[in-house]
Amino acid sequence: MMSLSEQNASAAGVKLAAEARNITKRFGRTVALNDVGIEIHDGESHALVGRNGAGKSTLVSILTGLQAPDSGEVTFGGVAAPTLSDRDGWRHNVACVYQRSTIMPALSVAENLFINRQGRTLISWSRMRRQAAELLESFDVNVDVTLPASDLTVEQRQLVEIARALSAGARFIILDEPTAQLDGPAIERLFERMRTLQDNGITFLFISHHLEEIYEVCQKVTVYRDARHILTAPVSELGRAELVDAMTGEPGGLHVPGAASRAAVDAKTPVALELRELSGDAFHDVSLKVRTGEVIGFAGSASSGKHQIAETIYGLRRPSAGEVLVNDRKVKPGSVPDALRNKIGCVPRDRHHQGLVLGLTIAENAAMTVLAKLGPFGTVPPGQLALVGSKAIESYDIVASGPDQPVSDLSGGNQQKVVMARALADDPSVLVLINPTAGVDVKSKESLLGVVDRVARDGSAVVVISDELDDLRVCDRVLVLFHGEVAHEFGRDWTDQDLVAAIEGVTEQ
């Protein structure tokens, strides 16, 4: 491990695209950044990693001029950063593609590209559209500029945001978890584009929870932990285990329970979940038996239909044909209440939209699916409610001040644990997990996957839908979907290469 000062020494003479020195930032009593720094050399792709709460987002908002540090300084190309009110000055130095979209959905792509730069006098719409089309063409982004931005895919939106940043003159671009919502091929295209831009002298700060991506696209990596700078090193000199150690502060890397530690499921075990020739949105004719204690994984690209299958099982979508059976009883199609009655639990795709009511407390969120069963005659006794909350905190290892804390105060990993607690509140016999570890840090990931393993041992059937290979290691079988059909089936002994090849459809050709 190299310290920052050693880095400073070795970096002497190299031009820095951006630098932050001795930054400290407090929010009330929490220290978000404690005397940290980062040096981003001209023309490199620099990764910034750390667990949730490590201070990455705060650093991004300081580097983009949205917040002022309490102490410390930011420079771009050796020149001190402009004042916070000088937005134009910041825009020439740095641009950020945030996790949250900075697109105005109702406005056209063209206007989004030139927002607040439409000119001083009368706007010429035809000229703006032409310039927008030329701009996007120069980046090889194939989008109709007259479309409202809300029609764009996530991938197209990011490209438009990158193009907007570059056209404003910024040569240093921060990508804040750009891959979180993209599927495999789109991620590859993004990386390809990053490399091309890098060849043209653009500097990137790349933030991601997927460590593999860092090895693929970055040259340097900086690790933050608990608001402190831990290390900065060339990616090629840092092993994966070391990187994870630096992030978690514990040696040993990611401990994900594997399926092999559980007893094998044989054909005599009763079937908990059965799909009979199920067809629906974006998938067709899927038949499957999941036995109690078995964990099944669904993998595939974003367009493979894997989310749709999961949402159909839970009743969020209505199948067009076929049926879902739980313990040999038919589940009413397209009905979440009936899925709950049949003891199907679900961690939905997006915890912010479908998983949690952010303003409510941990207890209220965790008990949401069992509210009717807490007290006599459907009453909700506060004591019972608090009990569900504190049990959830205890069993799922949620870091919180108590069951009365609103979930909006929790970190992403802990929020996801609350979603998990809610899915498990009614002791489901079938558990459907969609992207269960999306956007959570390494520790939370371990703990969430540990819960999956535990639930399977306790005799539930589990279906895991995920893009992350780590999530699939816990599975007894992994089904790979391709264009809505099961293309491959793996047992417990798949390799990363085989699975990824199957997901990308490489083996099809």
């Binding site: 979209s101 105005m104 959905p105 927002i115 006098t121 194939n142 989008v143 409202p148 390809e192």
Partner: protein
């Protein structure tokens, strides 16, 4: 500058490339056929309908409402709310009159020169808008509840200053805009029309106007793009107050007096006209032309009901049903759920 960067190895799937009929663009014109249908129906029902007198009458009756809708539409586009406009329309003229008239005519005793009545009135409107802005932007209160409080307060001030009675003794200058005709059309109609034309041009062809949409669509993104969002919203709220005060002057001139309940209940019609015209209550969507069409449609319906001699007691119910139908129709034609 960006020309050199031409990655040729990658291409994004061109799923959205298909040339398609852009429904969104016609959305603004969605009410035009409805207005034409109303005019045809009117012409068939009564020979009195399609006369210059009647139609200019409709326009004049709607001019004050139109100004309020213009103000509300701009405020809604920035993602804010102003309920207090309906109180401003009455209070701004009342206070302005009270400051210039003698105590015998409900004056406050200041007796400032009469020519000051109109500037004072507009200034009062601006002050109410600025005060709303202070509470909403600096104290970070919800626009809905702030302006609801202001609606009640300003209405109360109106009643307090006027002593609960209608004011009939008004300076000539104050009445002028409301009943004078320019080129054969009521001055108030010209004023509303000019205000709308200015609004449409600014909101379609000026950076400052487009920033309203940016703020309403995604305020963080607007900030990141360098738009001074607070300053813009504040300006819009102040302009809204001024337009409401101007509407008060026009309405005063048209009626020849300031009623103790002038403007009461008007805000519901204002919102209905704006939403029917395609303005989103969530901000960032809709055009002023659409809002204008919303006003005209409601005005024509009102006029038709009068001409058909429908019992006035039923107007409220009929108006409400028509507003609901219009909303359902606009939901169906736009194809998107109304948030």
């Amino acid at each position: 500058m960006t020309k050199m960067i031409t990655p040729d190895t990658v291409a994004v799937p061109a799923s959205n490339r298909r040339p398609q009929l852009r429904l969104a663009r016609f959305r603004d014109l969605a009410l035009v056929p409805a207005i034409i249908v109303l005019i045809v129906i009117g012409a068939l029902i009564s020979p009195d309908f399609l006369t210059v007198d009647n139609l200019t009458n409709v326009l004049q009756q709607q001019s004050a409402l139109a100004l309020l809708v213009l103000a509300e539409a701009m405020i809604l586009i920035t993602g804010k709310f102003d309920l207090s406009l309906e109180s401003t329309i009455g209070f701004a003229p009342v206070l302005a009159i009270a400051l210039v008239e003698p105590a015998s005519a409900h004056g406050l005793g200041t007796q400032w020169p009469e020519w000051m009545a109109i500037p004072l009135c507009l200034l009062i409107g601006a002050a109410i808008g600025a005060f709303n802005g202070l509470l909403i932007l600096k104290f970070q209160l919800s626009a809905f509840i702030v302006t609801l409080g202001m609606l009640i307060t300003v209405r109360g001030l109106h009643v307090g200053v006027s002593g609960g009675s209608s004011l009939f003794q008004l300076p000539q200058s104050f009445m002028y805009l409301g009943f004078e005709k320019w080129f054969g059309l009521a001055a108030s109609v010209w004023i509303a029309l000019i205000a709308f034309v200015i609004g449409i041009v600014v909101l379609s062809y000026f950076r400052q106007g487009r920033s309203l949409y940016a703020i309403g669509g995604n305020v963080d993104a607007a900030k990141a793009a360098g738009i001074r969002t607070d300053a813009v919203v504040w300006t819009v709220l102040i302009i809204g107050g001024i337009l409401a005060a101007l509407a008060g002057i026009l309405e005063t001139g048209r009626l020849g007096a300031i009623g103790a309940n002038m403007g009461e209940g008007m805000i519901f019609t204002v919102f209905a006209a704006a939403v029917i015209g395609g303005i989103s209550l969530n901000g960032g969507k809709g055009t002023l032309f659409g809002a204008l069409c919303g006003v005209l449609m409601l005005g024509l319906i009102q006029n038709l009901l009068t001409i058909m001699r429908v019992d006035g007691h039923w107007f409220g119910a009929i108006n409400g049903v028509i507003i609901l139908i219009a909303l359902v129709l606009s939901r169906v034609t736009s194809g998107k759920a109304q948030e």
